[in-house]
Symmetry: C2
Subunit: 591 residues, 2 copies
């Protein structure tokens, strides 16, 4: 049996009851994306991932990616199988599914793309990063590219024949994008010449595609300092002629790839731009503003990397726990599979319940992104986008923290075997660790949550969400003895969240450092309450309409989360409301 | 500047105020181990670790250990520098310090040995595992070896000229030692012939020493099933003649070494015993009972591996945070080192406070082990040993969980650079992950805590400890405005611990599964309360007698722990008292 099977029943249930896909598919352009058609796509994609992508995961980790070829024009060679499987991915058109039909996309909602990302990441996260970065570049060009740029680049990028990259980071500018120093000098023909060094460029160079479209943040001469002076440029590896054919090699060269703890198959490149031809995307000095347009989808996608790893790890741990006979539980007459030990149960249920909560959060967040783009009413679009803005730091921050926690629990279930590379658990754990760092560290997610998102509309966005959660809690409380305790715990959690939110809004308004000091535990608290709420909705829906076995499992899972995971928020309130003083009581030297 | 400097001021403070070394050194045999002499040893040892051992850490990770040599009698070659540095370690006599002077030991308290282990693990955990396993074998032989065995083996093992191993695990017997199948057949000369396969044998074969003394669990013919039928055998790699010289090669062969996520320099061997000559240690079928004699020291030592990694990771993160300029904190006019960001402060203080609490716990636990062996009064010895028994699962479980958490925080402080292997943070994180697994998984530590340790003397051992903690809390509450809030938080934490303890004792008495279901969160809760208590003692002691700067830092650290770390225990009480039902609501198939 394969290490992983796409959890299609769970995905279908979430698409039906959390996303409301049949409602979503009534929006203009999504008419073909009803639940049955969507599940047919996901089923077929799942087979592709299990048959083709999953087998490349371990070999990719073992071989990594390496700089090779002509020293004057080096390239990066990926691990065995990557090139062939990527070609099949392009050939089948899997990358096109959630993109605009006008440029060769499948025209499915973004939510469906997120479901595909989950599955692809469960198969091979390092492989999934090539389409992921292309998606980032695509988002940027769809939103801000000129008509000419769109016609020339989008079809090949939507199909995946060309991949894309995002070039933000420089040696002295990590999280601080405003410190970018790469220069963009205007040329007489209206193009620019780009010069500078970019680091941590995912799939910045590789052998999977015939061209690579780099989107590069740089400064024009005389641009204002900081983030306000940053422009975005399109810099293709090979210049593209007007007819779409490939022209001369452009002045961008891979210098090296990083030797990383995980995602080793994904080449993380240092790129040198030397008088490279670049095309301005949108307006000069608007680069940072443009980055924010794509932030929700990109950050959600990184959260989904976490979800995919969690699911892959959980399935292996569950299987191992069912098979491995060790020790005798109290009262048992003989040795038993370790799944019968209470502490192993605790680990497995923590994994299962957290994953189901996380999947609901991610798909719900994706739905808000879809609604934010496609609802006919502008005010409703804006409200949906605001909710997506509030949820995205949770999707990214919690999803990627859970990625480390849950892959670690899977190792623990395996014991010593999990620490040995052959079982593949260690790779999941190593791969997972980057997700809390890139696309904005989780500290930055938390700062975004308390600094930008909570204050939206004077706190009304979070207040509206809490009102919605309270309504679900009340419904649970009145829905019989199996569901009522879930409602009770949710009420308790919401009370704590309310206190924390009020504290942060009140204290952060006069002193932003107070909000920042509370940010990380607040992100966790908020995520767990939202997770408990979404599992409550699932328990209600399953009780109403799912087969008895599925419904019983949903209720038991929601109950476990409510009793064992959600209440940890009570332990976070004191650190949130303790304030910043303890953090600054010591000087940097005294630490 | 080196990546690591032994935290001698902290260690000295803990030895003085938590261990009471000057009191301890009044016990018979320890007279030379006063604080000044001990610190002189530690200072010199710290220099050795920084100058010699630390430089082998990364090369050891890169090269690992490999099976090599004659296919009929293979050996294991360790990484560059290991052999030379180990020879210097033996030559200087560092391994002898905490052992019985009668066999060439330095006669220092075990607590001093623990301090040395912390430093050695900060330098190179994989290297430290060779002496660690020798220590395990030594403990066994000191306690249960025959006089002849002691004379023949102990001097060379105390010096480190010969190393030792512990052979418990077999392919189908991981945590379940009772399932051991290795056979020991009596020979006419009173020795035994050992046949079977052992796995996960740390430094089971290597090139550091001229002989390796394996202690092997095996079954004699007709022995009862389960743990009651297990005997312990001494099986030297080279047989030892009566005059101590090395004789024939014994029938034990390395088959392979594991390809592990971390501690790659430490060879984890599969050993094949084929009619190997073995000598019974102690009585037949007493092997498991003997294992328990050495359990506290071995488990504490694994916790100390965690402590050493935490300290190494913290020092690097702290240095990086002081130097790395990124972003502008609210109100600042220019970019600042990231140590000035509230969220980075939260990470660094979480690390610092947790490490200081953990060090206090480990050294206090070691002190109890010393008292349990050396107090003149048998009843007081027994009481000290009981307290060590209660604390050891905390030392191991919490210490090794923190190892993963704190090395992870260090990576987070480094951002993307932490994920790149060159900075060395990733190695600490990878190395750390094994510590929660071996020497009894942390789940087993938690089961030991609730199943064996809490019920000691009908719950009086834990009740006595809580009474002692309450006394400290009251003292803090009366010690002025800086210390009183620490006392208040400790009182809150103790109230929660009291409830949890009563729940487990009451419910576990009628249904052991109830206790086991609560075990893991209870271990965490208990550890954090004990940690807060010990930091409270340190804050009181520092206020009384330390220099002003040191005292202020101690108080601020204890205050941070009390306000931000300790209160998370409130979030653990609900999951402890929720009981087992949620864990068993689903069948294994429904998970």
């Amino acid at each position: 049996m394969a290490d992983y099977a796409p959890p299609l029943d769970e995905i279908r249930f979430v698409l039906e009851h959390i996303v409301g896909l049949d409602e979503l598919s009534k929006l203009e352009g999504f008419e073909h994306a009803d639940l049955e058609s969507t599940m047919a796509v996901l089923e077929e994609f799942g087979r592709f991932v299990v048959d083709k992508v999953l087998p490349t995961n371990r070999v990719g980790d073992e071989q990594g990616s390496h700089v090779t070829g002509d020293p004057d024009d080096p390239t990066v060679v990926t691990a065995d199988g990557f090139k062939e499987v990527y070609a099949q991915y392009v050939e089948a058109g899997w990358g096109t599914v959630p993109f605009d039909a006008g440029f060769g996309g499948g025209g499915f909602p973004w939510t469906v793309g997120v479901a595909m990302q989950e599955i692809l990441n469960s198969g091979n996260m390092a492989f999934a990063m090539a389409p992921l970065l292309t998606q980032g570049a695509l988002d940027m060009l769809f939103a801000h590219g000129s008509e000419e740029q769109k016609q020339l680049y989008l079809p090949k990028m939507v199909s995946g024949e060309w991949t894309g990259t995002m070039n933000l980071t420089e040696p002295d500018a990590g999280s601080d994008v405003g410190a970018v120093r790469t220069r963009a000098v205007p040329a007489v023909d209206g193009t620019y010449r780009i010069t500078g060094t970019k680091i941590y460029i995912t799939f910045g160079e590789h052998d999977l595609a015939e061209n690579i479209v780099h989107l590069v943040l740089a400064r024009t001469p005389g641009a204002p300092p900081g983030t306000k002076g940053i422009s975005c440029f399109l810099v293709p590896k090979h210049l593209v002629e007007a007819d779409g054919s490939l022209g001369a090699r452009n002045g961008v060269t891979v210098v090296s790839v990083e030797h990383k703890m995980g995602i080793r198959a994904s080449p993380t490149c240092v790129l040198e731009y030397d008088d490279a031809v670049g095309y301005l995307v949108g307006d000069e000095s608007a680069g940072m503003r443009y980055m924010f347009t794509m932030m929700n989808t990109a950050r959600l996608s990184v959260g989904v990397e976490g979800l995919g790893l969690c699911e892959a790890a959980y399935q292996r741990a569950r299987q191992h726990a069912r098979e491995r006979v060790q020790g005798r539980p109290p009262g048992a007459s003989a040795g038993a599979p370790i799944v019968e030990h209470a502490d192993v149960r605790r680990m497995l249920l923590t994994m299962k319940a957290s994953i189901e909560a996380l999947r609901a959060l991610h798909y719900f967040d994706a739905r808000q992104i879809d609604l934010g783009h496609h609802l006919p009413d502008p005010a409703e679009r804006a409200a949906a986008a605001e909710l997506a803005g509030l949820l995205t730091p949770l999707s990214k921050g919690w999803g990627t923290d859970l990625a480390s926690e849950i892959t670690s629990l899977a190792i623990q279930v395996f014991g010593g075997m999990g620490y040995v590379e052959e079982t593949g658990l260690a790779q999941l754990y190593r791969d997972a660790r980057i997700t809390a760092i890139y696309e904005g560290t989780n500290g930055i997610q938390a700062m975004d949550l308390v600094g930008r998102k909570l204050p939206m509309r004077g706190g009304r966005v979070v207040a509206d969400l809490m009102a919605q959660m309270r309504a679900t809690a009340r419904e649970l409380q009145g829905a019989g003895e199996d569901l009522a305790p879930i409602g009770d715990r949710l009420v308790d959690g919401l009370a704590v969240l309310q206190q924390a939110t009020e504290w942060i809004l009140a204290n952060g308004a006069t002193d932003p450092v107070q909000a920042l000091a509370a940010a990380t535990p607040y992100l966790r608290m908020c995520s767990q309450v939202v997770g408990g709420w979404l599992l409550g909705i699932e328990a209600l829906a399953a009780t109403r309409s799912a087969p008895a076995g599925f419904a019983a499992a949903k209720v038991a899972t929601a109950r476990f989360f409510a009793d064992h995971v959600l209440p940890t928020v009570h332990g976070l309130l004191p650190t949130i409301t303790a304030g910043k003083d303890d953090l600054f009581a010591l000087s940097a030297d005294q630490l």
